[in-house]
């Protein structure tokens, strides 16, 4: 192999010299066209479109008329919007606080090597197979005060109107989100823990570090990048938890669980105010972008740059 290397280099140089400038490149360009066109038409154009539509009074059916910043003023002076913003951040922060420690602990645990831990892992990942709609429907019937879990276990305190009371509905939404997404993040952490060199634990053990100490001094710092990835996905992903909450509560009762994503849908497709809904869409895009940038700045690692290297 080593003997061949100079030969290959030689040939490469020959090739570089012999290549007509730009000839091969233009042929390569054709290969990107289908993906680029699809992305432009159904992702990039809509991205521009949401900004443009936020300055219109489109009702979803008729003609599109420009009305300047009218929708913006309407939406930004509507207390409902700020309630939705507040709820969105509340869901974001609380689900992050709930999911991160649990996923971290479970991921570390099932990365261990006993057989039964592998067995547990198989069951832990089951929620990953279900759609948000399926999970929401399952929980709706499970939480039924008369025919659900409370009746099955004969535990009257579980017989609450889980989705009918504003506070309980919020708690329920958080719980079901955690139920759905903790398995995914557990999977991420399991993969992360398995990459930690065994020798680090051996050395720590020789130095007399207990398990708790090892967890905080080795496992957690070594998982830094896993924690960043997982947190980014949780925080930015929470902006678009639509399916689950929509099927569970439709934003209710009242507007107790009407986060921005639902607010956008309800304004657009139920109230036929596509202009106002587009304002919410723009807000979501901006919040998502800003959030990604902040996390990367805080984490001291430019994820976008490292992703760019990858491309």
């Amino acid at each position: 192999m080593a003997a061949l290397a100079p030969l290959v280099e030689d040939r490469t140089q020959l090739l570089e010299r012999g290549r007509a400038p730009g000839g091969a490149k233009s042929r390569l360009g054709i290969l990107v066209v289908p993906a680029l066109l699809m992305f432009l038409a159904f992702a990039f154009l809509p991205l521009i479109g949401v900004l443009v539509l936020s300055f219109t009074d489109w009702d979803g059916i008729g003609d599109i008329g420009f009305v300047g910043g009218q929708s913006w003023v309407e939406v930004l002076t509507d207390p409902g919007t700020w309630h939705a913003v507040w709820l969105t951040f509340a869901v974001m922060i609380i689900t992050w606080l709930v999911q991160t420690p649990i996923s971290l602990l479970l991921g570390t645990f099932i990365a261990g090597q006993q057989r039964y831990r592998a067995f547990l892992a198989v069951l832990f990942f089951l929620p990953l197979l279900m759609s948000s709609a399926a999970i929401a429907i399952a929980f709706k019937s499970l939480l039924d005060p008369n025919f659900g879990l409370s009746a099955g276990l004969h535990l009257p305190f579980l017989a609450q109107d889980w989705l009918g009371d504003p506070t309980l509905a919020f708690v329920t939404v958080i719980f079901v989100i955690a139920w759905q997404f903790i398995p995914f993040h557990t999977l991420l952490y399991q993969g992360g823990v398995r990459q930690i060199p065994e020798q680090m634990y051996e050395a720590a053990q020789i130095d007399g570090a207990g398990r708790v100490r090892q967890f905080f001094s080795i496992t957690v710092p070594q998982l830094k990048y896993t924690i960043i990835t997982s947190s980014t996905l949780m925080l930015v992903g929470s902006l678009v938890y639509f399916d689950l909450i929509w099927v569970l509560t439709q934003g209710g009762p009242g507007n107790a669980t009407r986060i921005l994503a639902l607010d956008m849908y309800i304004r657009g497709f139920q109230a036929n105010q596509m202009g106002a809904a587009s304002v919410i869409g723009v807000i979501l895009v901006v919040v998502g972008l800003v959030l990604t940038l902040i996390i990367q700045r805080l984490a001291g690692r430019d994820l976008a740059a490292s992703q760019m290297e990858g491309m």
């Binding site: 290959v8 040939r11 490469t12 091969a24 490149k25 390569l28 289908p34 993906a35 680029l36 699809m38 992305f39 432009l40 038409a41 992702a43 809509p46 479970l106 570390t108 645990f109 261990g112 006993q114 831990r117 547990l120 069951l123 832990f124 089951l126 929620p127 990953l128 197979l129 279900m130 759609s131 709609a133 399926a134 399952a138 019937s141 499970l142 025919f147 659900g148 879990l149 009746a151 099955g152 276990l153 139920w179 995914f184 991420l188 065994e198 020798q199 990835t229 930015v236 639509f242 399916d243 994503a261 657009g268 497709f269 596509m274 869409g281 979501l284 895009v285 998502g288 992703q307 491309m311």
Partner: protein, 294 residues
Amino acid sequence: MSTTVATPVTAPPKVSSAQRRRVKGRRNYVGGLFAWLWLVIIIIPIYYVVITTFKDQGAYFTQNPLALPNPPTMTAYQEVVEANIIRYFFNSVIVTVGAVIPLVLFSFLASYAIVRGNSRLLRVSRSMFLLGLAIPLQATIIPIYLIITRIHMYDSLGALILPSIAFGIPLTVLILSNFIRDVPRELFESMRLDGCTDWQMAWRLAFPLTKPAIVTVSIYNGLNVWNGFLFALILTQSPEKRVMPLALWAFQGEYQVNIPAVLAAVVLSTLPILILYMVGRRQLLRGLTAGFGK
């Protein structure tokens, strides 16, 4: 496995193999207790869903919700089959296959071009796709609805396929280009000297060498499309165009009192993925964390 492999260079000589095995394999009571508790939280809803589907409506209202069905019946499944669920199931199959094949194909070609070339068009494309990674694209559903209605595709399965392809491209291109970049340059150059075109190199060299990544991204995107709800909600209307997640939601509205039938639909919608999980668990889990793992 790694604990049993002797690593004389790095392993401190003081550690006996028995000690070493204990490092990761020790009993962890706190973690264990927590893990079993979580198992209960995961299993109860799944157990409840499965057993309820084998009850009829009478049993649902009279028996203990967590008791095994006695006698078990298939009434619920019969009812959802009569409610046309097979059709919705195949709608989902059409949308998933119809989106994933072009999505992976286009992304593969784009990744190949982005890795191998350096023209202005390719650099612009790369920036576009990176932008797509950083933005919650679901925030753009309103213009997507506008575009789909203007090209007269509202209420068709194609309306679900097109944006699904576009939304999947950024991450798929990112993952595939990472893999294509790992193909040794020399292999490409020697093929070029043999007179191969880029098209031939993409298919005869890059494609076989990136097959594991192609499987991974296909699973990842397949799951996303199969479980997708939002596009179906805003871009289709008539019952015969329903895909499974939307059908679940519609059933829930129509059969409010027939919980066993609603849950039977839930089970049927998850079944293909469950089968995939049983035959190729590793592949499926790798697909789920596509691009995020490690």
